[in-house]
Structures are given as C-alpha cells and as structure tokens.
C-alpha cells in the first residue's frame, strides 16, 4: 500500500522534470554542441571547429574585461548587499512604530524588474536632463557625464544593483535573527558581554546559515547581471562595462558569432558553478548547530 502511494506521488513531479529537461537540460546540451561550431546564429549550415572557440576565449581581451567586470559586479554587490542587508535586519528586528512600513519600503525595489530599474536610473544619471545633473546645475555646479567613463559606470551599476536587491538580504537576515534563541543573549548579558561581543560571538555564528544563503543568492545574481547593464550602458563605451552575460548576447546577435557566444556561455556557467560551490563549501564549515 505504501509502495503504491509512493509511486502515485512520484507521478506528480513528472511534469516538472519534463519541463526541466525541455527548457534547461536540452538547451544546455545544445549550447555545448554549438560551442564547438562556427555557427553565425541564423544560417542552416555550421562547421565543427573543435576547441577553437575556447582557445579564442582565453585570448580575447573583451572576454577578459567582461570577466573582471563580472567578478566586480558579483563580489562588490554581494558585499554591499550583505552588509547593508544585515544592518537593516538588525535595525528592523527591534520593535518600533512604523517598522512594517520601513521593511516594505526597503523591499519594494526588489519587485521592480531590473530592466525598468535600469531605465529609471538612466534617467537619473544621464547627462542631458538627468536628475543628478539638474541638482548640480541648481547648486551652480558643472553637469557631469557619469556614465561615459567605465570606472564610474561600473560603480553606478554595482550601487544600483546592490540597493535594488538589498531587500532580499534583509529578509533572509530577519528570518535568521528570529531563529536565534534569546537565552544566549540573556546569558551573555549576565556575563557582562558588550553589544559588539554579543554580535560577534552569538549573532554572527548563529546567523551563518542565513549568511550562507544570502551570499550565494546575491553572488549568483551579481555574476549573472544582465538587464541593468543593458539599460544603463549597453555594455559600453566599447566593451568596457560588459558582463559575461551581456557579452554572450552581444556576440550571439550583434556579432553573429553564436558558436563563440555559446562557448562564453558555457564558461560563464562553469565559473558561476565553481565560485558558488567554493563559497558554499566555505560557509558549510562555518555553520554551527544550535
């Protein structure tokens, strides 16, 4: 009877498995196949070129730029989101009037599509008629083109991405904080521990599962950054603000090098997988049992 029940339950996840196979596994295998060809993305013919696309990838200065940018987007966004998110969570874990409203306001940007957020921010930072320059002009200062230099543009992208998704980190940390038993703090206070000592020796170790989840989620999100880059700079000037994800699109559609784009895509997948696993392994060791 039990076995029959189990097999019935198994039937329920068949649709999910089929969808996963069709929309994830099959395209992924096709992507691997294409990465060994010189396909231009639309022709009915293509040629097998062996590992040429992969060797090109390691010599391409534009891939190097995109890789460095991707790491900056991933790491910096993760750091900012986690520090700010934890700060917000600690603050909003205390009881005060209007706490729910503040939580909602911080979380609200998460609900905006990144592409829309990118365009809103473009109108904010653009040289001609942008909000920042309007303020500078009102203060009798010279307007500045903030997106023209790659360094500034990258900082802006990181900042916008971090502030938009800081709400996710905040929610994870809030959930984590609510699971920390109060008795540890009470015991520490009796022993005369300061706020910083309680934070360092109780909050952080017991928040490790939340830190792990938040870091991994934010890191993967940052390493896959696409919409925001497209809306703010389209990867320019030149290739200077491209992430690996936007470079894949650029190479696939604009440069008509679908085979090469697939190779960059596979490389990006492996990179994200390796980094995520290393970070996950690190946090696994740090977690403590309550």
């Amino acid at each position: 009877m039990k076995i029959q029940k189990k097999s019935v339950i198994n039937l329920f996840y068949i649709p999910a498995v089929i969808l996963f196979l069709v929309f994830v596994i099959y395209p992924f295998i096709q992507g691997i196949r294409l990465s060994f060809t010189n396909w231009n993305g639309y022709s009915q013919t293509m040629k097998f070129v062996g590992i040429k696309n992969y060797t090109r990838l390691f010599q391409d200065a534009n891939v190097k730029t995109a890789l460095v940018n991707t790491l900056i987007y991933g790491v910096m966004s993760t750091v900012i989101q986690n520090i700010l998110g934890l700060g917000y969570a600690l603050f909003l874990n205390t009881k005060f009037k209007g706490r729910s409203i503040v939580r909602t306001i911080i979380y609200m940007p998460v609900m905006i599509a990144p592409l829309i957020m990118g365009y809103i921010m473009y109108f904010f930072f653009q040289y001609d008629g942008g909000a920042v320059n309007d303020i500078l002009i009102a203060l009798h200062m010279e307007p500045v083109d903030l997106l023209v230099h790659s360094g500034t543009a990258i900082r802006i992208i990181v900042l916008v991405n971090s502030l938009q998704f800081v709400g996710v980190a905040m929610v994870i940390y809030l959930a984590g904080l609510q699971n920390v038993p109060n008795m540890y703090y009470e015991a520490a206070m009796i022993d005369g521990a300061t706020f910083w000592e309680r934070f360092k020796h109780i909050t952080i170790p017991l928040l490790m599962p939340a830190i792990s989840s938040s870091t991994i989620l934010n890191l993967i999100g940052g390493l896959k950054l696409f919409d925001l880059v497209m809306a703010l700079t389209s990867g320019g000037p030149g290739f200077s603000t491209h992430s690996l994800s936007t470079l894949v699109t650029n190479q696939y559609f604009s440069a008509q090098s679908a085979g090469y784009a697939s190779a960059i895509g596979i490389f990006t997948f492996l990179l994200i997988m390796i980094i995520s696993n290393v970070v996950m392994g690190y946090f696994d060791k740090k977690e403590v049992d309550v």
């Binding site: 040629k47 473009y122 023209v148 700079t233 320019g236 650029n250 604009s254 008509q256 679908a258």
Partner: protein, 440 residues
C-alpha cells in the same frame, strides 16, 4: 457523485481555457463595426475570402508608415480575398529574423532592411521573373542583386543618405553648406559652429548604431571612394587594415577638437534629434528619415541633408544608397502563388507610390513617382548630380555580415577617449574581419 464533480471540474477548466485562449489575429482584417459598415457600403466588390492568410513581417516603425502598410494590406485582402497578417515586431526586428532563420520558420514575406543579399539570400526566392524586375532603379539595383544576377527584394523606396544638418545653426555660424566639399572644409565649418557656442556633430552613443553610422559614413570616403584597389582588397580578403588608422584618427581628431556633444557616448538617438530640433546642434550622421523625426519635434526648424565630403580636393563627394522599404519573398513559403500576388500588388504603381510617399523617400522603381515632401529639393539637387558618387553602405558592401557590431563598439570606444582605443579599434576590425571572412 465523485465522477460528477470531476466531470464538472473538467468542464469548468475546458471553458476557462477556451475563454482565456484567443484565436490567431489577422490585424489587417480587424475592423471596428462602424468601419465594416462603411466598407460594405463603399466596397461592394470585395472578393470572398480564399481562406489563405500570409504572414508579412516589417521593420518600419514610424506610426504613419506602419498605418499605411496596414491599409495597403487591407486593400490587398479586399481585392484578392487573401488575408495578410502584417506585423511590426518591434525594434529588435533583426534579432527576431535571425531567430526565425535559425529555426527555419520564416514569414512568407518580410522587409530585408539592407540585407537582402548578404544575410537573407539563402532564404529568399529570386524575383527576376516579376514584371517589376525590369523597373528597378539603377541606383539600387546592384545592391539587391547577387553575383549571379538574382534579384532578391522589391525596393518600394530607397535610401539616399548623406549627413543631415540644421540650416538655422549653419546660418548662425556663418557656414554655407555648398562650400563643404572635403573633410577639411567640414572641419573649418565645425570650428565656426563651435565658436558660435553650438555643437558641431551630434551623436547618441547609447543607441550604438549612431556610432556605427558615423564609422560607416566616414569609412568609404577615406578608404573605398575612387580607390578600386582598396575596394577589391576588402572584397577578396587581402585588405591591409593599417589603412583603417585613417578612419580612427579622423574620428579621434574630432573628439580632441571638441566637435561632439559632451554626452556623445551616453545620450540616445532621440536626445540628438531633439538637440537638432532645438537649433543647438549642426550635423548628424543619419539617414534622411532623421529629418522627418526632427520636424516631428519642431515644425519650424529648417533641416537639410548634404553629400559626404571627399577626403581631398579633386575627389567627388558621395551619397549612400541602399534598401529602406524593400520586401523579399520566402523561398519556402507554403503559399507561393498568394505571396507572388502580394508582391505584384506592392509593386503596382499606385500602391508603391503611396508607400514611398509615406516614407518620404525616392522610389526604388523607375516607373513610380514618390512625393518626398520637404526633402524634395534635396533629392532634386543631388539625385542626378553626376559630380556626386552614389555609393553603397560601406558595411553592407565591403564587410562580412556581422561586422556592424564592430563599427558600433569601436566608434564608441574612440569617442569616449579610452586609452589605446585607436590601436584596439584597428586590431578588433582586423581580427573580426579575418574571422568572419574565414567563415564565408
């Protein structure tokens, strides 16, 4: 009871699905009740439906042009009984067509936007047997015909493009456009415009094609015009890419001299159009259709277009010609006879003239007259001037398909003043050219 409940639930779901689903629309056949009544009264000779609907994808997104295309398709349906699903899929038309080509699920007819031969020939049916094939304008014939003489698209109109300019700005700066014959003259004009506190060259680099346009417009004047050796070398793959330095150096010298708008890299195309409309900027590297956009912003401004200056005295100025509104027919269509009728209908003098007039461009057929409106004096002035070269778009003729991206990206890098951008630009053009040539 259980079965009854299940049956009711299934019925409910089925009704919901039917309710939510929507029959495929045929936009050209969709009319409001009032329109239908009006049409029944006025067009009693409408032919009964054949039950066949063909799909036509087009990339012309101007409101008045798009409406005209829909009207023409509607008229075709009334006259032949063949439905036309005419769709303008948005600004990423090119990417959508690439996806359709990749899956080999092409529309029955589509606009070829400059790529009839280089990109779409593999999927298009040659049109040599149509009556209109003998009326293709000599200015565009070469660009839409392959080496074996196969004609691939019906040019309802054609581009005749140089630089667009704001006449009020030039007047204020004391520049006479007819005095600009060479790039040196052009730079002298830019100095005067700059001295008048106005922007000489407007760019909108956030829309990267504006950078591509500039490179595409400047390159032929420095590399291929009246230089057969370079033309041949670019086509056979033996081009010496160190010569590209002349192009990048020219653009970089304009940047150093401060001819571009301050936000040249980050502004978008429409910001540029607005600057021209507001009499704040003088020149823009864009098709003459940009003038129409400027008049939408400010009817009272005065716009014109001029040929591209020559690299030195004694050489000819040039205007670029190419496809604008051109329609190709799929060679794998399931309704070849119906699509042929549609092509013949589009080429009909009254229809072709109506569409070309709506686009404000000269007709691509020599038996059709187009009213180009406020641009007419410029077409009259330059179209038949033998001292001006008619040249194809540089990238479409001389670069392998897929290199437009390189023009856009390297142009933006140069204008932004990035370190090593000139060397990187030349290297990237060379590498990309060699890779794509090897794939041909």
């Amino acid at each position: 009871m259980k079965k009854l409940a299940l049956a009711s639930l299934a019925g409910l779901i089925a009704i919901s699905v039917i309710g939510c689903s929507k029959a495929p629309q045929e936009p050209v056949e969709t009319t409001t009740a009032t329109e239908t009544v009006k049409e029944t009264e006025t067009k009693k000779d409408a032919v009964a439906s054949t039950g066949v609907t063909i799909e036509f994808l087009y990339n012309l997104n101007g409101e008045s042009v798009s409406d005209a295309i829909q009207d023409v398709c509607k008229q075709f349906t009334e006259e032949t009984g063949i439905g036309v699903e005419a769709v303008m899929p948005g600004s990423n038309f090119s990417d959508i067509m690439k996806t359709r080509m990749a899956s080999n699920q092409l529309p029955d007819a589509w606009t070829t936007h400059g790529w009839a031969v280089a990109r779409y020939a593999e999927y298009l049916s040659p049109l040599n047997d149509f009556e209109f094939a003998s009326h293709i304008s000599s200015s565009i014939k070469e660009q839409i015909t392959d080496g074996e003489g196969n004609l691939y698209t019906l040019p309802i109109d054609m581009d005749l493009t140089g630089m667009i300019y704001n006449e009020n700005v030039l007047e204020e700066a004391g520049v006479n456009v007819d005095d600009i014959k060479t790039w040196a003259d052009f730079e002298a004009a830019c100095e005067k415009i700059k001295a008048a506190g106005l922007t000489p060259i407007q760019l909108g680099g956030k829309d990267s094609y504006t950078m591509g346009n500039m490179m595409d417009f400047v390159a032929p004047t420095l590399i291929t015009n009246e230089d057969e050796a370079n033309q041949t070398a670019l086509l056979d793959g033996s081009f010496d890419w160190s010569k590209w330095n002349t192009v990048v150096n020219q653009i970089d010298s304009w940047r150093q001299k401060g001819y571009f708008n301050t936000d040249a890299v980050t502004a978008d195309f429409m910001t540029g159009i607005k600057a021209l409309a507001a009499d704040k900027a003088a020149f823009m590297f864009t098709a003459a259709s940009g003038i129409t956009e400027t008049y939408v912003q400010n009817q009272d401004t005065k716009m014109g277009f001029m040929p591209l200056p020559a690299r030195e005295e004694g050489l000819k100025q040039s205007l670029m010609t190419g496809e604008h509104f051109a329609v190709g027919m799929s060679k794998t269509t399931k309704h070849p006879e119906e699509v042929k009728q549609f092509m013949e209908f589009l080429a009909r003098e009254d229809i072709s003239s109506y569409l070309a007039t709506k686009c404000g461009m000269p007709s691509g057929l020599d038996n059709v007259i187009s009213d180009t409106g406020r641009l007419a004096p410029y077409y009259d002035k330059y179209a038949n001037d033998s001292s001006i070269l008619n040249i194809p778009y540089f990238d479409r003729k001389y670069l392998p398909s897929g290199m437009w991206n390189d023009l856009c990206v390297t142009g933006a890098a140069i204008v932004s003043g990035q370190a090593d951008s000139l060397t990187v630009a030349v290297d990237q053009m060379k590498t990309s050219y060699e890779e794509k040539k090897a794939q041909e």
